[in-house]
């Protein structure tokens, strides 16, 4: 019975590894196929190993343009949503004003509403206003749906903050601006950072809302969708793999940084 005992003892680890495998398998496939050299237009069957796509990532017409556009929109949407969302979160926690309760629940609405409904209603709004569809309409839409996530993340942080910390800062000769910069903001920073990261990820890979409100502008997710109907260039896998690697590197970097800081303190 040693096998059964061994299984029993390591059940949690085995379960964890299987789940991790389940999560990472798609990424593995994307990575492997970025080294493929497909025969036809579709990159669905393994043919032979090649660096071709990696050597020429922008070799597909319009792809890098759409990628750059997506990155720009994600950047500005993150900035906009983070600034506005942080201010809303502070207002909701710190001040008592009329309609505070309803604002508090309305802010969750974009998270709960089906994206396609939001997409369609936004389009209706833009068309009625006569707004030309493109970069700006996409940006406005993205800021809007990222906002709720930032508010939720920052609000949790601000609520758990001891108001006496700001009073202590004021008591120690920090004026309102100094108090905010030196005490409030650094303490709220993890919440703000979490909101910003979420915003970037949500904005970058949004398809439905963007597709409705983009007009003739093409973002990276739209490009992938479009090309999937005509053929999938290997470069798409290259970009996907590169983004996965960047994300992994960022996580590793922050872990190393955190570890070093902890060791210094100890």
């Amino acid at each position: 019975m040693p096998v059964v005992t061994w299984l029993k003892r390591h059940l949690v680890v085995i379960g964890g590894l299987l789940t991790l495998g389940y999560l990472l398998l798609p990424n593995v496939v994307v990575t492997v196929f970025s080294f493929n050299k497909p025969k036809g237009r579709f990159n669905y069957e393994w043919q032979q190993f090649s660096f071709d796509a990696w050597k020429d990532p922008c070799g597909v017409a319009d792809m890098c343009g759409s990628l750059s556009l997506s990155l720009q929109i994600a950047f500005w949407a993150t900035v906009g949503a983070t600034v506005l969302g942080t201010m809303i979160a502070f207002a909701l926690v710190r001040y008592r004003f009329r309609a505070r309760g309803s604002v508090n629940s309305l802010i969750f609405l974009p998270m709960a509403m089906p994206e396609v409904v939001m997409a369609a209603s936004l389009l209706t709004l833009f068309l009625n206003l006569g707004a030309p569809l493109g970069f700006w309409t996409i940006l406005i839409a993205h800021i809007m749906f990222c906002l709720s996530f930032v508010v939720v993340a920052v609000k949790a942080r601000v609520m758990s903050m001891d108001p006496r910390l700001e009073q202590a800062a004021q008591d120690l000769y920090a004026g309102p601006a100094q108090t905010f910069l030196r005490v409030t903001l650094p303490i709220a920073a993890p919440g703000i950072a979490a909101g910003a990261l979420l915003s970037f990820a949500l904005s970058f890979d949004d398809f439905i809302i963007t597709n409705f409100n983009a007009g003739s502008t093409v973002t990276f997710p739209m490009f992938v969708w479009g090309s999937a109907q005509r053929g999938t260039p290997v470069q798409i896998n290259v970009i996907g793999t590169a983004m996965f690697l960047v994300a992994v590197l960022l996580v590793l970097f922050s872990m190393v940084l955190g570890n070093r800081r902890n060791r210094q303190k100890a």
Binding site: D162, L165, Q167, Q170
Partner: protein, 383 residues
């Protein structure tokens, strides 16, 4: 310390605070002289912290003025007042290390070279080794010392302490009481200390103001408050008092003779804060440790001229330095007596008939028109 310097005086005149219909602090006049250790003592919700916060500028008074020395600061924001606060539960900045916490006030005032001052201050509170740790890595007592250092380094005119020892265990609290007292004597800064712990107020402060329901009940030195309470609240809140309702019988010289139960009690007129008209009611008070306990069989040995009451021991508890008795007397059902354990009389056990007697000079008199139990149980609720 320069005695003519009054820049560290705190003068509150007619200061009050209301929240809607609720009055937290009734118009209050208070002067804390430069260099003194002043305690605001009271149960939670009595307005002591609100008063402190009005001095700090963290609370806008509804009326009245606050002066620091000759400067009116009533409407100055906290960051423009030359006072610093040690907050309840310390409010150390969690994202800054100990060094930066202590340096915070100096840096905000634009002082560039803070290193030496901070190091000296951390040495004063014996935390030099911990400078690069974050607050959460320190114990409660250490955090408390950081909070004191962070405030003191700015050499404020007045240091405000809001229940600074409330979160510490008893032993550490005793230690920090002495430590704070030492620091105060050393730096000579005016300390205003808010606490609900009467023992803490009495050990540390030169002057204590006892607050109750938004008013100062009595102000004075710890000894004065303890020996000559003016109200039942002060008598009961500061230590324990035995209060007996009595009727004024006659006056003889400087003494008042009172009737209580069947017997007579003598009260020095100077120690009675209530009006005394013959036939009027007065509350007679005496502290438990002033009383001697004699077994009823030996009643003849009690010297003349002492106040005496008879009763039966209801309960006794031995607590090392003394034995605490609860005596059931006709005039007062729960009379408390603390007897030193010097020559213990083996007959003094529950059920024994005893005579309680004390020097009339230790008796105080209070106005009978107040709640006899005011301030009795508040302390435990607040703790």
């Amino acid at each position: 310390m320069n005695t003519t310097d009054n820049s560290g005086d705190v003068r509150l005149s007619g200061i009050s605070k209301t929240y809607g219909a609720f009055t937290a602090v009734h118009p209050l006049d208070l002067t804390v002289p430069q260099g003194s250790f002043f305690a605001l003592l009271g149960a939670s919700g009595c307005g002591k912290t609100t008063t402190l916060r009005m001095i700090a500028g963290l609370e806008e008074p509804s009326g009245g003025t606050v002066f620091l020395g000759d400067q009116e600061v009533t409407h100055l924001p906290p960051y423009k007042r030359p006072v610093n606060t040690v907050f309840q539960s310390y409010a150390l900045f969690p994202h800054l290390d100990i060094f930066e916490n202590v340096a915070f006030g100096l840096r905000r005032r634009g002082i560039k070279s803070v290193k030496k001052q901070v190091v000296d201050m951390l040495d004063l509170v014996q935390l030099g080794e911990q400078a690069r740790k974050k607050p959460h890595q320190l114990s409660g007592g250490q955090q408390q010392r950081v909070a004191v250092a962070r405030a003191l380094i700015n050499t404020p005119k007045v240091l405000l302490l809001d229940e600074p020892l409330g979160a510490l265990d008893l032993k550490l609290r005793r230690q920090m009481q002495l430590e704070l007292k030492r620091i105060q004597t050393e730096v000579g800064i005016t300390f205003v200390h808010v606490t609900h712990d009467q023992e803490e107020a009495m050990t540390m402060a030169d002057t204590v103001a006892v607050m109750n329901a938004g008013r100062v009940e009595q102000l004075g030195s710890p000894t004065d408050l303890y020996e000559n309470p003016n109200t039942t609240f002060v008598a009961n809140f500061l230590g324990t008092s035995n209060l007996i309702e009595a009727e004024v019988d006659t006056k003889s010289g400087d003494d008042i003779v009172l009737k209580a139960g069947g017997g007579k009690l003598v009260l020095p007129e100077a120690r009675c804060s209530a009006p005394t008209t013959t036939g009027g009611k007065v509350l007679v008070g005496v502290r438990p440790e002033k009383i001697s306990l004699t077994h009823a069989d030996d009643a003849g040995e009690i010297p003349e001229g002492r106040n005496r009451i008879t009763g039966k021991i209801a309960d006794s508890s031995f607590i090392g330095v003394s034995t605490q008795y609860v005596i059931d007397c006709p005039v007062c059902p729960e009379f408390e007596v603390y007897a030193q354990n010097i020559d213990r009389d083996a007959r003094l056990v529950p059920g024994a008939e005893v005579v309680l007697h004390w020097n009339p000079a230790h008796t105080f008199g209070l106005d009978a028109a107040q709640d006899i139990d005011a301030g009795v149980d508040i302390e435990e609720e607040a703790a």
